[in-house]
Symmetry: C2
Subunit: 209 residues, 2 copies
DNA sequence: TCAAAATGTGAATAGAAGCTCACATTCTAT
DNA sequence: ATAGAATGTGAGCTTCTATTCACATTTTGA
């Protein structure tokens, strides 16, 4: 996990200036991520985070104004890692078939959901939202990719319908992937094939009227 | 909301025997559902439930051994209501088209998700699972309906593939509906049409090839 | 070298909330 | 009518945990 400059804009807390404190902050965030994944948000405590990190509770509050800000830092780092897992294919290459585009899209989303699944689930549906800056970037990146595929499929552009189609397709793909993740089948090639089949069937129906 | 016999099997608590106490239990559960929907699981408190119900905190613990058992009772009642919203079409009538079957399925699932949406979301992704007995019935009922439609679509029966297809279709439909619910578009006819289109496109691709 | 800044410590504080229990009230059956 | 069961009450006990603060240690820069 890369070192980031963590604390929040309005944070009254110190910024880590020396190498030593930057390492401490990283240790804290990594330990916190492990505790959060293991216990869930409801039983995520700052004291357990401190002892897991081998650090005094006070050290956490040197750099994080409260428990939530710690979780938000974890989320920011995690979503960075998730986005990094997505491989973007060349969108302007006309020689790529629709099937290939759909496959690349789905592989990217699967890869994104393969990064620390338990932590991902806790971060997305347990930790309160507050300022969801990173989450927006995250969703925007997804949307961009879906719309590229849809634009390629539907030769003509009906922006109104394409927008809805994008939301339908993304909802469908995410739904299938979340269900698969719950059953531990995210890596199943049969599922991958069936999901690509679903996407292609829908995409073809958009152009063929 | 119908009166049910609530407390858990292993509960050391009393069963409500008189009319008066049955009414008290109903009042408690209804108030608890309101509090849970309003505050979310993290800020759902037994004291607020008691004051909202106009009942002493002690009365709650007469019938519920702990906070979680109260939430589980709410979930049981809610899922009953959700299942009741699903209209089941005649599965043996061969004169019904695939489009009509898909539409009936989707309308049923949408109706199920239209029952007390906020509470539904909190119950499904905030309240801890523990013994998820009712949730299993709930999912099994869904699965049954998806498989009926898939069996009708794919003339021949390839049980292996049909099973996966069922999970893919249900994941997709649920995903789209959850996304729509988040954006408050559950009642949109455009979305309904597009979702039916998605389902039909996939179903046709199963038989044709 | 040494003073000031940065960093680290953990006992103690404070508040929230689950749950108990001794007691009061109401209902049922005889 | 009345005893005993069922029901209802709410102050307060207990546990948990976020956060503070007075202090100790380490690093930096001159």
């Amino acid at each position: 996990m890369a070192t980031r400059v963590p604390p929040q804009p309005e944070s009254v807390r110190k910024l880590p200036r020396q190498q030593r404190s930057r390492a401490t902050v990283d240790t804290i965030v990594e330990a916190a991520a492990r505790v959060l994944a293991r216990r869930g948000w409801a039983h995520f405590t700052t004291n357990e985070t401190a002892s897991t990190a081998g650090v005094s509770i006070g050290s956490i509050y040197q750099y994080f104004p409260n428990k939530l800000s710690l979780a938000e830092e974890i989320r920011n780092r995690h979503l960075d890692a998730v986005l990094a897992a997505i491989v973007v294919p060349d969108e302007s290459d006309a020689s790529i078939t629709l099937e290939q585009r759909a496959a690349a899209l789905i592989d990217g989303v699967v890869a994104a959901h393969s990064v620390d699944q338990r932590l991902h689930r806790v971060l997305l549906d347990e930790v309160p939202l507050a300022a969801r800056s990173a989450q927006d970037v995250f969703e925007a990146e997804y949307l961009r990719r879906y719309q590229a595929v849809i634009a390629a499929a539907a030769g003509r552009a009906d922006p109104e319908r394409d927008g809805i189609a994008g939301r339908v397709l993304s909802g469908a793909v995410e739904g299938v992937i979340h269900a698969a993740a719950r059953h531990g089948e995210l890596q199943s090639p049969v599922l991958r094939a069936e999901l690509i089949g679903l996407a292609c069937a829908y995409l073809h129906s958009l152009s063929g009227h």
